[in-house]
């Protein structure tokens, strides 16, 4: 339902210092897919997010979201289908209290009062915030604030939820909880999710990983396929999860590790299988 065909974008087009942020991007994301986008700073990820939210428009090529072309005349049609959550929740939380902030978007759509309260209630519930709807946002932890921002995005009932590095300021346990909540929403509501991140281990939690470099897509596939390209990823300033890298090194030393290793649990299982039995001499 997101379709990019030959999409390019340049800042300061036509000038000597033009910056080609995206170069002929072709990308198709099906309805309801759960996708992570990774790439170093300056790889074009943020430009992609701005194009998908009709903040910028392609210099070349076309983008369709749910069949609606992304261009200036139809920007509200696009924005009704796409919600975005930014890195710093303070950039998008506008009201003092939790429930009021979640209501802000639907209120601006001019929806009837009953529908607004229904949307606020279900969004708060989905993010586990029902009990704190009346709290002041300034009293919340960063993880809670990020949940309020997602609840606000959800109350717009988008077809696609775009998460632009929302976990980069959170400790890993809080980030992981946030991703699993979004995963549940994705399964239950069929809402597509596009998550931009710098964390390789976070990207392994998605169905599909799209890797960007220099405004192009350089790898695209399931996490296990993508993170097999250890050298390639390092050459473009990225990394692979430590367990995947260690598996790669151990295989190079002749340790017969079978299957895909994306996290430490996979690594333990593969090592255990290679050793022939779950218990080893050391642990007896």
């Amino acid at each position: 339902m997101i379709e990019l065909e030959g999409v390019s974008f340049a800042y300061r087009t036509g000038e000597a210092d033009a910056v080609h942020a995206l170069r002929g991007l072709d990308l198709r994301i099906e309805a309801g897919q759960f996708v992570a986008v990774i790439g170093h700073n300056g790889s074009g990820k943020s430009t992609l997010v701005k194009l998908l939210t009709a903040v910028l428009y392609p210099t070349e090529g076309v983008i369709h979201i749910d069949g609606v072309p992304v261009r200036e005349e139809g920007q509200w049609e696009v924005r009704r289908r796409v919600s975005v959550v930014f890195q710093d929740p303070d950039d998008q939380l506008v009201m003092n209290r939790v429930a009021d902030d979640v209501a802000f978007g639907p209120e601006n759509l001019g929806l009837p009062r009953e529908e607004i309260s229904e949307r606020v209630e279900t969004s708060l519930e989905a993010l586990g915030l029902s009990a704190i709807g009346g709290r002041l946002i300034e009293d919340l932890s960063p993880g809670q604030k990020q949940r309020v921002a997602i609840a606000g995005a959800l109350a717009m009932r988008p077809r696609v939820l775009i998460l632009d590095e929302p976990t980069s300021l959170l400790p890993v346990p809080a980030a992981t909880r946030l991703i699993s909540t979004v995963r549940e929403l994705n399964r239950r509501e069929g809402m597509g999710v596009l998550h931009v991140t710098h964390s390789m281990s976070e990207a392994t939690l998605f169905d599909r990983v799209v890797v960007m470099d220099e405004g192009r897509i350089v790898l695209d596939g399931e996490p296990a396929q993508v993170f097999r390209h250890v050298e390639k990823l390092r050459s473009i300033g990225l990394d692979v999860p430590l367990a995947a890298s260690l598996a790669h090194r151990l295989r190079a030393r002749g340790v017969p590790l079978e299957g895909d290793v994306l996290n430490e649990v996979d690594l333990r299982a593969a090592l255990s299988a290679a050793l022939g039995s779950p218990a080893t001499a050391e642990s007896s």
Partner: protein, 294 residues
């Protein structure tokens, strides 16, 4: 500078039974620090780590007396900074803080002018200021001729953070405090900043304090961890000792270093595998040893 016997000199920073409540005496009072005591010696590399709202930022703010401090709690070079008449300006010329959001401390439009702001305000000559701006930008990998006239708003997040660090570095403070220095940087940016900070700390014999909810980068930058939770110190010790018992840390909402997480899991297979491993190389060597491959 004179040779100082670091062990004999008073700690450069000391907190004694530090307690702090924001908006004390009002209905919105919130107790941030319940009881925190530690001392930091000159030249140490210390990570103050803990989950969000554990009190890290309050502790950092106390170092430069940015709070309404009471007497008898915060000491710099053995002196109580809350003593009436204590020279706070001088304190802030000795304790440099780089806040989490670089934009909160970048005050000018252009890189060179921003880095010059502190030295100029401190009354240094134009010549000395220019020298320090050049030296600081060069040290941060932002070559002076190339960057001095660049607009800050056109720089990337990682570059803006470097400008903020250069601004603090130009003050030649013996203490450098960084609040979440790696947040928002990509893997390459983290690696570069880390190498740079390690070199700066060595070259200038800085007292380096890194404040973070992630033990990951802090474990490579620091030799000692002070772990805070709910306004108290829960562990204080050398990095490897703290990581030897990761179970306690795993209960807190903090990021453990990836090698430690991996070693914990592999510990179910190799019961004698140490968890205090800082790098992938160390972990690989330990695993290979147990596989009989070295």
């Amino acid at each position: 500078m004179d040779q100082i016997d670091h062990a004999a000199a008073p700690p450069i920073i000391e907190l004694r039974n530090f307690r702090y409540t924001y908006l004390e005496g009002t209905p919105r009072a919130s107790e941030a620090i319940r009881d925190v005591s530690f001392s930091i010696r000159r030249g140490e590399r210390v990570g103050i780590v803990g989950p969000t709202q554990s009190g890290k930022s309050t502790v950092v703010d106390s170092f430069a007396h940015l709070l309404r401090l009471k007497a008898g709690q915060v000491f710099h070079d053995g002196e109580d900074v809350a003593t009436p008449g204590y020279d706070r300006g001088a304190l802030r010329r000795r304790v440099g803080i780089v806040f989490q959001q670089p934009d909160s401390q970048l005050v000018e439009d252009v890189v060179g002018a921003d880095v010059a702001f502190g030295p100029t305000a401190a009354g240094l000559s134009a010549e000395e200021t220019r020298r320090r701006v050049e030296e600081s930008l060069d040290a941060l990998g932002l070559p002076y001729p190339e960057y001095r006239l660049r607009y800050i708003h056109a720089l990337s997040g990682g570059q803006r953070r470097r400008v903020a660090i250069a601004g603090v570095l130009a003050m030649h403070t013996p203490v450098l405090v960084l609040d979440e220095p790696m947040a928002g940087l990509d893997p390459r940016g983290r690696r570069e900043l880390m190498e740079l900070l390690i070199r700066l700390q060595k070259d200038r014999d800085l007292t380096l304090i890194v404040c973070s909810a992630s033990l990951s980068d802090a474990s490579l930058l620091c030799d000692r961890f002070i772990v805070l939770d709910a306004g108290r110190v829960v562990v204080d010790g050398p990095v490897r000792e703290v990581l030897r018992e990761p179970g306690r840390l795993a209960e807190l909402d903090i990021t453990l270093p990836e090698p430690v997480l991996c070693a914990r899991e592999l510990g179910k297979l190799f019961s004698d595998l140490p968890t205090a491993v800082l790098t992938e190389d160390e972990l690989e060597a330990e695993v290979l040893k147990r596989l009989g491959l070295v």
